[in-house]
């Protein structure tokens, strides 16, 4: 069932909002002990809101009219636990914020709430969004519904699981180096890491301020576009958000992609790719040709430096953003930080310290320019760039946890996009012979989300036909 099916059913009176919420809460109760997607379930709040919405509906008797103001009327969703939710515990999946209850909502939380969506709870993730597998959570990792011995990806691990396991229709998340695309790719779901500055980050616990973006995971491309319309837009509380009208991302989404130029960067089809991922990329090229697109090889020569750039910039900014956790105004003492947070704080502090700033942080900013230039040159030749999201199949839990560097290299194909601030849509591309999801990302120019949704939709429909 998609969001659109759900709203149709509501309109026809096939079920009530309360029934749907109750069903999903029951499902969460049954599946969550094993899948560990939710840290907090807000059953009472959800049912209270369901009742309130039903009163509105019975008073107006016109769902169509209500949908104009509240396009997500009664739609069950959930939030990654780094999104501040007023009155509801927000832990960032870290012991340091255990018991912390925000006094305000994040802008995105408020927008979704005002649009009629019903929050079912707060979702598990890597603590402070530091990770690519969900294993850095202080509440245990979430499990991949396709194979519970494997990671669902990260850092928005719980978000992917909640959507893939059909607990909610949409789950918010963030993407700083891979954290929306990687979980979507591992769980056969869709996420748009949107352009830096499209969606407000106000109220989202900060990780790396020149890289953080806010988005959401859904099961289909159209649903993702529909939710983006609700959350995108200028916010005076987030200084980098772009001014201008919010777009209708569904508009033109069904248009064909004839003649569209799709580039495949050779640096992303590296030797280390799992053979099944490589095979999938071959299929992807064929699929685009079938859709009438013009497929070509391109080069992004500085790709191999992206992880190094990312880890210096990100760790430096993390060390600054986590300085506020002093245990005085909120939260517990700094000794409650998990290992990964401590590691990144140390790395960032070193890289920004006197005598090392030029060699590390400044150097990384310069290589950042080179990476951005690679993309600018590529987009003169192509409209969209297609790459795998991850070089391997979803890893087994525990596989990379002993070696931080191995974990960091999981971002090799996704981090360049954040460095350049570009949008990238992660869509399912197939399954391995073991039944494990394999996803691709479609990278576009700044603020070209509409084109990416259009391409993604065509690709998704074509893949379904196979």
């Amino acid at each position: 069932m998609t969001i659109f099916d759900y709203l149709e059913g509501l309109k026809k009176g096939e079920y009530s909002v309360t029934e749907q919420v109750k069903d999903r809460l029951k499902k969460i109760g049954k599946l969550n002990p094993e899948l560990n997607a939710f840290i907090t379930v807000t059953g009472d709040l959800a049912l209270a809101k369901a009742r309130k919405l039903e009163q509105e509906l019975s008073a107006s008797k016109d769902l169509e009219a209500l949908l104009k103001e509240k396009p997500l009327f009664g739609v069950p969703i959930a939030h990654k636990d780094i999104f501040s939710t007023k009155g509801v515990e927000t832990t960032a999946a870290s012991n340091i914020l255990q018991g912390y209850i925000p006094e305000y909502d994040a802008t995105v939380v408020r927008k979704l709430d005002e649009a009629g969506a019903i929050m079912l709870g707060k979702l598990n993730c890597d603590a402070f969004a530091h990770g690519a597998s969900g294993e850095n959570s202080d509440f245990g990792p979430a499990k991949n519904p396709y194979d519970k011995k494997r990671t669902p990806g990260g850092s928005s691990s719980g978000s992917a699981v909640a959507v893939a396991a059909d607990m909610v229709f949409a789950a918010t998340g963030t993407d700083t180096g891979s954290s929306l695309r990687n979980p979507a790719s591992f769980t056969n779901t869709v996420s748009m890491k949107n352009t830096y500055g499209l969606v407000s980050r106000f109220g989202v616990i900060a990780m790396s301020s020149s890289l953080d973006t806010v988005g959401h995971i859904t099961r289909t491309v159209k649903e993702n576009a529909y939710v983006l319309k609700v959350v995108a837009g200028y916010d005076p509380y987030d200084a980098i958000t772009r001014q201008g009208p919010s777009l209708d991302y569904l508009e033109g989404i069904e248009s064909n992609v004839n003649g569209l130029k799709v580039g495949f960067p050779k640096e992303y089809i590296v030797g280390g790719l799992d053979p099944q991922v490589k095979l999938t990329m071959h299929e992807v090229r064929k699929r685009f040709k079938k859709l009438g697109a013009e497929v070509m090889d391109i080069s992004l020569p500085h790709t191999e430096y992206a992880v190094a750039v990312y880890y210096i910039l990100m760790a430096s900014e993390v060390s600054s953003n986590l300085a506020r956790f002093d245990g005085i105004r909120f939260g517990h003492g700094r000794s409650k930080f998990g290992e990964e947070a401590q590691r990144r704080i140390m790395l960032g502090t070193y890289s920004l310290s006197a005598g090392f700033y030029d060699a590390y942080y400044l150097k990384a900013q310069k290589v950042r320019t080179l990476i951005i230039d690679d993309f600018i040159k590529a987009f003169k030749k192509v409209d969209v760039i297609a790459t795998p999201v991850f070089p391997d199949l979803p890893p087994l839990l525990g596989k990379n946890t002993d070696d931080p560097l191995k974990m960091y290299l999981m971002d090799v194909l996704t981090a360049p996009v954040n460095i350049a601030g570009l949008p990238a849509l992660a869509v399912p591309a197939g399954f391995s012979k073991e039944g494990l999801p394999i996803g691709i990302q479609l990278i576009g120019k700044h603020f070209d989300e509409k084109l990416l949704f259009r391409v993604g939709y065509s690709f998704e429909q074509e893949s379904k036909g196979e």
């Binding site: 912390y100 830096y196 301020s209 200084a239 005085i328 590691r343 502090t349 070193y350 601030g421």
Partner: protein, 96 residues
């Protein structure tokens, strides 16, 4: 390879109170990461300008559409550890 002294200094700057075991562990792990990021030195960036963030925005000032949203004193104190008469209690900075 980071020296013990360097690791201790970093921990102090970062206000992290780490055990000997942790310091040793991070010394090893961070040295490995730093070796990896040193690959950036393969690139000549003497003529390259740094990019601080990927938007064309420079300074943005509060516009007229900024609505002041403040927390009440009670609200702001809610999550604080130690409180006293409307103040948050913290460690003294000056010696007696």
């Amino acid at each position: 390879m980071l020296t013990t002294r360097e690791v201790c200094k970093i921990a102090q700057l970062a206000r992290l109170d780490l055990s000997q075991a942790k310091l040793k562990l991070y010394q090893k792990q961070l040295s490995r990461v730093l070796d990896y990021v040193n690959k950036l030195n393969e690139l000549n960036t003497s003529k390259v300008k740094p990019t601080l963030h990927p938007t064309p925005i420079t300074n943005r000032f509060r516009g007229k559409d900024y609505k002041s949203q403040t927390l009440s004193q009670e609200s702001a104190l809610k999550n604080a550890g130690e409180k006293q008469r409307g103040y948050i209690v913290t460690k003294g900075v000056f010696e007696k």
